[in-house]
């Protein structure tokens, strides 16, 4: 009788349970597989579309960057923009997909019980697959530019993970709000668009901070993507990309703070989602 005993009570707070997620790992994989398969079904060029959007962005913003920031060579500008753009694309995809994932799958959890956190987690998997495909662009650019590789490159995965954490934390928060307020689907693209211009995507953190008054520096670094992108650039190119270690750490701390808030908020309302959908 005590085996697998389940208690259902009115307590709305639930918790992040790794055990539950592992129990539903088949579901996690199958949801991701579904999203991935469905996206390119009946699309002739298929996966190439995943490459086109970042490629166009890189070409446009790389060109702009090399025109404006003449302190660096065109090649360096392009490589910086490409690496930052791919990471930004990963962030924006995770953020956008996670924040829409709950309402997008309400037909599932309004009929069957499973830990709802599986849904946003599966969105991450899909975004990661896209990201790894788009890395092809970066590899090709590296080869064309003859860019040498440093030992720091082993740090790169850490900043990819940090980017996912950023998108996931903020995304979860918005996914929860989205259940009740559908305005989220209009707000998220605005945040993403605005966010790109205040993150070191087109220009480096140094470029921004040199132009900003001193008292605004810490504000700029509250942006969790500053740490992720700068760290990623450091891993790929080395050098003095990281403007100020304190600012860098501040940004990383903010990332984890957002993750914590996102998870906390999500689990506070998770059980009653069905009543608001």
């Amino acid at each position: 009788m005590n085996r697998d005993k389940v208690i259902i009570d009115p307590d709305l707070n639930s918790f992040f349970s790794l055990k539950e997620i592992i129990k539903y790992k088949s579901l996690l994989g199958n949801l991701a597989k579904r999203d991935f398969l469905v996206r390119y079904k009946q699309a002739f060029a298929g996966i190439i579309w995943a490459l086109l959007k970042p490629l166009i962005n890189i070409l446009i913003f790389g060109y702009i960057a090399s025109k404006i920031n003449s302190s660096e060579s065109t090649t360096t500008n392009f490589l910086y923009v490409a690496s930052a753009m791919l990471l930004w694309q990963l962030f924006s995809n995770v953020f956008n997909d996670v924040s829409n994932s709950i309402i997008g799958n309400s037909n599932l959890f309004s009929k069957v019980y499973f830990p709802k956190i599986v849904i946003p987690l599966s969105s991450i998997l899909v975004c990661l697959v896209d990201f790894f495909i788009s890395l092809i662009i970066l590899v090709v650019l590296f080869i064309i530019a003859g860019q040498p590789i440093h030992w720091h490159i082993i740090l790169a995965p850490l900043f990819v993970i940090l980017t996912v954490i950023n998108g996931f934390g903020i995304g979860l928060y918005f996914a929860t709000i989205n259940v009740k307020f559908r305005d989220v689907k209009f707000i998220v693209p605005v945040i993403i668009q605005f966010g790109m211009y205040v993150s070191p995507v087109i220009f480096s953190t140094t470029f921004y901070l040199d132009k900003l008054p001193q008292w605004l520096h810490w504000l700029y670094c509250l942006n969790p993507m500053v740490g992720a992108i700068d760290g990623f650039k450091y891993a790929l190119f080395g050098g003095d990309v990281i403007y100020n270690m304190q600012y860098f750490i501040l940004s990383v701390v903010v990332s984890f703070l957002f993750l914590f808030i996102g998870i906390k908020y999500f689990f506070k309302f998770e059980r009653s989602f069905v009543d608001y959908i």
């Binding site: 009570d9 199958n30 579904r34 599932l108 009543d275």
Partner: protein, 424 residues
């Protein structure tokens, strides 16, 4: 918790807040901001929310191996109870304890995606229902065989016929192996043959494998056959709990006042008889004129109608219509024998009785319409829809058209037919 109790529900309630006014506005962020701004400015236009208790203080226990039928009218709280039991929505108060693996089928084919192939959907839907990959791998061939879709395994399900779609969806659900199975009636979708196949599978699971089943239904006939225990919900509260027979009876007693007997007030302006005739009573009874709610399928059933003719010289005959719960008109009959049908009536009270032969109706609830009609020219003097209802039950003694067979048995009539077999 005692050993044989598998589900224990204590004081379960579920409250919904209904936004009476401006429901759409406060659903948007803008609406909420406006509302908050109003509050700040102290224009507290009180938000009109009404509390609605979908379930109120529901407690019961279910023993291992029980097959429980949950019945009640629309809005009685059946679906809410199911949703709480299957952990889709939390209760407002109260608590449930259960042990073992639970699967709930509130819908077939949850998460099916039209663009994915049958194969891909089996894995997707199976994992949504809580199966892991190994389990699905093991059951895969069985599922495909049950659904009869071998040839179309790699075709996107959007190209499936609706029959194939439902078969596949049900096949996956049927191969779950829970200890507790929660099933909503809507599961039985599709054509009637398929419905019976689903119900047959459920009976097989419950009776042969000793699983605990909770089944929500409108169909008294189905729950009577399938379930041994019953719970009747009314306005979110438990109205009756106990053996399925007794609960079904309690349901029929309360169900829109449809009993096996009904009396009408002849002085009432709205008496269904109209201006020339006053309907007095309609009673369903057995051979010895005893009024009952349930009738043995192998016995004769009588229906008597009393009425008063208030206009001298009317010519009419009597008609009864018999419908089942699904609204299928099973048969109609009118009086073609009595001498009264052709001669002008004198004023006064008349009683007309009609007999249904044994072994004619199938099991289930029967609703009776009564009418008085004039054949030439065709005129309806009155037609009372749903005057009375009664339930036909097969007590499974082996002397009915079922013989020894106890599973699903479709059809609106159940005659005993003559069969002969000779070796040629």
């Amino acid at each position: 918790m005692e050993d044989n109790i598998i589900i224990k529900v204590e004081g379960l309630s579920k409250q919904y807040l209904l936004n009476k006014s401006k429901a759409t506005q406060s659903d948007t962020l803008y609406g909420n901001i406006i509302d908050s701004a109003r509050k700040l400015k102290n224009i507290t236009r009180k938000k009109e929310t009404t509390e609605f208790w979908a379930l109120k203080d529901v407690s019961f226990e279910i023993e291992r191996g029980d097959r429980v039928g949950i019945i009640g009218r629309n809005g009685a709280g059946k679906s809410t109870l199911l949703k709480i039991l299957s952990r889709i929505t939390p209760p407002t108060t109260g608590r449930i304890e259960y042990a073992g693996r639970m699967a709930s089928l509130l819908e077939v084919g949850t998460g099916f995606h039209g663009d994915l192939s049958g194969r891909e959907n089996i894995y997707l839907n199976g994992s949504i229902l809580g199966m892991n990959k190994e389990e699905i791998d093991r059951k895969f061939d069985e599922i495909v065989e049950f659904a009869e879709i071998e040839k179309f395994l790699d075709t996107p399900v959007k190209r499936y016929s609706s029959g194939m779609y439902v078969r596949l969806a049900f096949a996956i659900a049927a191969h779950l192996e829970p200890e507790i199975l929660i099933v909503d009636e809507v599961l039985a979708v599709g054509d009637s043959t398929f419905q019976k196949k689903c119900l047959g599978k459920m009976e097989e699971v419950s009776q042969n494998e000793g699983k605990t089943i909770l089944f929500v239904s409108h169909s008294i006939e189905t729950v009577l056959r399938l379930c041994n225990k019953g719970i009747l919900l009314e306005n979110g509260k438990i109205k009756a709990v106990g053996s399925m027979q007794s609960v079904a009876k309690a349901y029929l007693d309360t169900n829109t006042g449809l009993h096996s007997k009904r009396f009408y007030d002849v002085n009432d302006k709205h008496n269904p008889g109209g201006e020339h005739i006053k309907l007095m009573s309609v009673i369903v009874h057995d051979d010895s004129f005893e009024n009952k709610e349930e009738f043995d399928v192998t016995k004769r059933i009588g229906i008597s109608m009393e009425y008063e003719v208030v206009t001298e010289g009317l010519i009419f005959t009597h008609t009864f219509n018999f419908n089942n719960e699904e609204g299928v008109n099973m048969f109609n009959t009118h009086d073609t024998v009595s001498d009264y049908r052709k001669e002008p009536r004198q004023k006064g009270i008349y009683k007309t009785t009609m007999w249904i032969e044994p072994n004619l109706l199938a099991e289930g609830v029967v609703l009776v319409n009564v009418a008085a009609i004039k054949i030439e020219p065709f005129t309806i003097l009155f037609h009372e829809l749903g005057a009375v209802s009664f339930t036909v039950i097969d007590y499974m003694r082996g002397d009915s058209a079922r013989g020894e067979y106890t599973l699903g048995f479709p059809g609106v009539v159940r005659p005993l037919c003559e069969w002969t077999t000779v070796k040629q």
